[in-house]
Symmetry: C2
Subunit: 355 residues, 2 copies
């Protein structure tokens, strides 16, 4: 409220002192046309006679006129702004690249991204929902399934188009662009098995969530297909972050009969795991082979270089964004699920088990 009053007071002062911002009427007067013509010259140039259009544009330049966005939005009802909901601080190298895909695509289409870190959102969901319900958002991109929610309001109930990237938005019939989690996890697991590993540790993401459900399913499927017994399969619950890799590594070192192969569901966990067990005196891939998931660049600079699954991070972002823009335009009905493939990257952290 303070802000509002100050702002108005300030504007008035500016006006009085002559440092006024040009408005459409000023341009109209300067160009000797009506405000309607100015508006058209700027938003639908084809509808204005060339000569007049020139006069208008010249006046615009001369007065340094920029249309007031709030007024335009109020009048048109479109905000050209997209809400991007980002998961807490997890895995910056991964998400930053996805975001770049989102950002580039949005910018190309003339949209602006409003970034909502789910972190700072805690207790602040309301503010965001005010924006959505306040008509200031044309759509939303949800990067990790988690949506801002209040007792009786949700982004979806607001009726704006939503697209999930990396995972479907929670409990929602919104289209999503995801990686082929299950097959990627199968590829990870199969690779270790083909190297000769028969006893495996799987370091999971938060259990119950979309990605984890599918990846674990892939892990199990590959293990079963190879005839591994349940007694040779272990699952350590992680959260994709370094700390989980450290914890898994510590637990691993203490195991009586250690697995020889480790399937991690994020590169961070894989990297922290390797570092931890190596410091405890184990060799990688000698005593334990490790395969990661994500394909962040760091994987190439750790010791040993990380064998992993590369996700098409940029494409996840850009593809999802294009989908949303189509939705907003009311174009084609989007497919419920767009699945992008991952790619196995062979480096040094996985090899044949010592016999």
């Amino acid at each position: 409220m303070d802000g509002a009053e100050n702002s108005i007071a300030r504007t008035q002062r500016l006006r009085q002192s002559g440092a006024t911002k040009a408005r459409i009427g000023d341009v109209a007067r300067a160009a000797g046309v009506s405000t309607a013509t100015v508006s058209r010259a700027l938003t639908a140039p084809g509808m204005v006679q060339a000569e007049r259009r020139e006069r208008v544009l010249e006046a615009v330049r001369a007065l340094r006129y920029t249309p007031n966005v709030a007024a335009r939005r109020l009048r048109t009802g479109a905000s050209m702004t997209i809400l991007v909901v980002v998961p807490r601080r997890r895995n910056p190298p991964f998400f930053s690249e996805v975001l770049r895909g989102v950002d580039v695509e949005l910018a190309n289409a003339g949209y602006t991204a409003l970034l909502a870190n789910l972190d700072s959102l805690t207790g602040n969901e309301g503010r965001l929902l005010d924006l959505v319900y306040g008509g200031q958002l044309d759509g939303a991109i949800v990067l990790n399934g988690a949506l801002p929610l209040e007792d009786d309001r949700s982004i979806l109930a607001a009726g704006i188009p939503v697209v999930g990237i990396c995972a479907p938005a929670a409990d929602v019939a919104a289209p999503a662009v995801v990686i082929d989690d299950m097959n990627c996890a199968m590829a990870q697991t199969r690779y270790l098995i083909e190297l000769g590993h028969r006893r495996l540790l799987y370091i999971s993401g938060p259990i119950g969530y979309y990605n984890e459900v599918h990846r674990y399913r892939g892990f199990q499927a590959a293990a079963q297909a190879a005839g591994l017994s349940d007694g040779d399969l272990f699952r350590f619950e992680g959260n994709y972050e370094f700390s989980s890799g450290v914890a898994a590594g510590a637990a691993f070192v203490d195991m009586a009969r250690r697995p020889t192969g480790v399937v991690a569901t994020s590169d961070e966990m894989a990297i922290a795991f390797m570092s931890t067990v190596r410091r405890a005196g184990l060799t990688v891939p000698g005593e334990v082979s490790v395969i990661g998931f994500d394909g962040i660049e760091f994987g190439d600079f750790v010791e040993p270089a990380l064998t992993t699954i590369r996700q098409p991070r940029f494409e996840l972002g850009s593809t999802g964004t294009r989908l949303l823009l189509n939705l907003i335009r009311g174009d084609a009905p989007a497919p419920a699920l767009t699945v992008l493939p991952g790619q196995l990257i062979l480096r040094a952290s996985a090899g044949a088990p010592m016999s």
Copy 2:
């Protein structure tokens, strides 16, 4: 009372069937007050009689009313939105934490962050400036000195408050929050010198930019203070990214008389450098000691763990943001430069030189 409730019920039914969004007039009618009272009840509750306020709030809930943001902005002239200009894709682990500081602080104050990746901005600066000049931005935070600019428009000319974080915004008299670059670089260098290194390689950031200028100055000052000769000091031009570390490492391996100590101006470069020279057969810190700059978490998981300078990343973000909010409120005149200290983190990548 009865009348009000009936009225509410009726309106609610109408809305639900008509799928219209409630407006302030609907609430006013339902509560039996004027729109002015509704507005006050929501933005300045103290100015409304308790009993009436209750009636209004009840109607708001019943109608699921959320004020239209565009209208409010148009009327008040305040957008409660801050532009955050982020450098290209560089060093996600570093900037993501700075951004978290920004985001948390902004959210606390009820502001929303508009993220502009300088990457996608290329050729799109105009769009952003339209927003600024269109009155949709109350302030700007610039994360790396680079500002969107057009022939005749710039964020600063628009007259909104600007704050630089990590580096002062280019060519501008805007306040900034930075780390103590020079002293940190001196601390890096001095540490290597105290370990016994007399021949040093400095891997720079992009030459000419604020941080690099000051860090290099610190490097030189420490070297001179220790009486190192110019012939024993080398500078490799980098850009803070992995690729520079790789290039520096390759060049290093080829040197005839190699330095024994390496001062890197980013952790990514330090990490990539270590990895590169190790793969070429050199030992770290045996044959070459390396010290990084930033303090990202990855540094703890590489081999050997990276000795480095830790920047207070979150605080850089939050401090700068508080500064901006003060500026917007018109509070105290901000200091031109707020300098935060770094911290030397001792790990394993630097040791005494082999004699």
